[in-house]
């Protein structure tokens, strides 16, 4: 196991300690266990946005607490949901009396705990709304799109919903806009190697050297096909075409693109994938408003990448372009 850690049990708490030591001017603990964190200065009169999920995906989820982004986060153990109490702590520390949007990826444990936290918040007089990220087009058919997993495309929703909250929109508007961002986004990934969980010390799945899994999930969930590793262009073609067909993105549309590294894949390779993505979009008459290339949602040290594409209307474009920054992701 090639990990720079102390003990698996202490791992997440030590990560948070390091984060707070590095970025204490921007991020503040909102619970004694430090598993609920909020933006410094929160609540600030705007609608709160609370996200959360398992650890092991940095900069997701923690890294999207910032200006023009989320107000708070609940941090679970590696690949495990945070508790309802942790979500509630982030909620109460985020609420300005205008309510809180829960915006997180669609996984069973997270849905259970965020829903429970919503009940607890309601009992405290805090109104919540929930929008779950369901952008992984490989994880279920179009007919069952609402059951899809949430992956890197949630970054678009953070930026768009965060801008909506920042400009003073009310909770129902922020929720409507977040849902519009989720609905307009499709993501698909490719995995080249598994992840090793610190506590288990073993790979989360088996993938022989020289093979790839198209459609893999952010925790190594089974994709839609496995086979010998293909060229960057061939992989990119499969991912992009699937997303465009699924989200019905066609000539004349305007999009933003996110090419995301899953952990061990060099930034160089992501730019090779972006080059091909841009070529396909140009060939189809789809205009690229903006491109993001880097590690935005990882799976520890998994080798692989994902591509997310969002179809933009004028409102989503304006919100996507609003200034946003966080200590982990910078200004973007």
């Amino acid at each position: 196991m090639k990990k720079i850690i102390n003990s698996p049990d202490a791992f997440v708490d030590e990560v948070i300690d390091g984060l707070l030591l590095a970025h204490g001017a921007s991020l503040v603990a909102a619970s004694p266990d430090k598993r609920a964190l909020v933006r410094a200065g929160s609540p600030d009169g705007t609608v709160g946005i609370v996200t959360g999920g398992g650890s092991g995906h940095l900069p997701l989820f923690l890294g999207y607490v910032g200006t023009g982004l989320c107000s708070g986060v609940a941090v679970g153990n590696v690949f495990s949901s945070p508790s309802a109490e942790q979500v509630l702590a982030a909620t109460t520390a985020s609420d300005s009396g205008r309510g809180v949007l829960y915006l997180y990826g669609n996984y069973g444990g997270d849905v259970f705990n965020f829903d429970l936290a919503a009940d607890l918040a309601d009992a405290e007089g805090i109104r919540t709304r929930t929008v779950v990220g369901t952008d992984d087009v490989a994880s279920a058919s179009r007919e069952r799109a609402a059951s899809r997993r949430g992956v890197a495309g949630i970054v678009f929703a953070y930026k768009i919903a965060g801008a909506s909250a920042s400009r003073g929109d009310d909770l129902d508007t922020v929720a409507r806009i977040a849902q519009a961002a989720v609905d307009a986004t499709g993501t698909m990934g490719v995995g080249l190697s598994p992840t090793i969980l610190p506590a288990a010390g073993k790979p989360t799945f088996e993938l022989p050297d020289g093979e790839m899994e198209i459609g893999i999930g952010l925790h190594g969930e089974t994709g839609q096909s496995r086979g010998p590793l293909e060229s960057a262009d061939s992989i990119t073609d499969q991912l992009v075409e699937h997303i465009l067909d699924d989200r019905e993105i066609a000539a004349g549309d305007r999009v933003a693109v996110l090419v995301n590294g899953l952990g061990a894949t060099p930034l160089e390779e992501l730019y090779v994938m972006y080059r091909r993505t841009n070529q396909i979009l140009q060939e189809r008459g789809i205009s690229v408003h903006r491109a993001f290339v880097g590690e935005y949602a990882t799976s520890l040290e998994m080798a692989g990448a994902s591509i997310s594409i969002i179809r933009l209307d004028d409102e989503l474009t304006e919100l996507l372009d609003a200034p946003a920054s966080s200590p982990l992701v910078g200004r973007f």
Copy 2:
């Protein structure tokens, strides 16, 4: 080989194509082969700063062309120096008539080609000065500090020299300040797995699973010791103590810290290392002005990390804090 590429021969050119497609508003090709790139709007009346080196280290070197940073870069093949002609193309496209600083890491091929480019620039009436990064404290003894390799600590020099050029300083001043930044910085790394070069298809060196190499270079150069993988705290202690002793950083000093991932090491683990770094500095009475944690200088998909520490005086602090941004690194 777990790489998302097309052909090894086309790799670097396709990376650059992707970069220019994604960031064409900020980065501009300055030579027909696109291996010389400059900041959009260059030259702009300030002293130019040209860097460069082999590919495979993103965001180094390309990623540090930006506002308040370098004005231009020459891009070599993977782990290979750019040519003198490529350096010259970046130089002529960066020069406002006030001269150009060459600021790059200390490797034989790079020194040879930058020196040759300096002669060619001189023949064209462009004045240059050279400062080489020599921050890798493990690569040679203190007595031979000028022969050390340059690694991630050059990021401090980019930011500090870039701020000096941005405020209008002349070439001699920018060079003096860049040298002061280099002299104040020490870096030391740890490697947990080798890198595979796209063209060779084989690991650059052998490192058995479960072992680590302390003091490893950015291309897998031999470090100062190899042994069983230790805990994050033990590794961090060795790196930080060596740097502090070497750079004579002691109680009462003010520093900035950069914990850098070499490619495959999760951001989570870098924060565990930062946590311990901060603890050591606090214990020694050294104040941390600012911390940078992330991937700033990589070695393709190498697992491992490095720690850089710079001792700051008032001038270096002010320059380090000046605004800087680039499309690859963001605003930092």
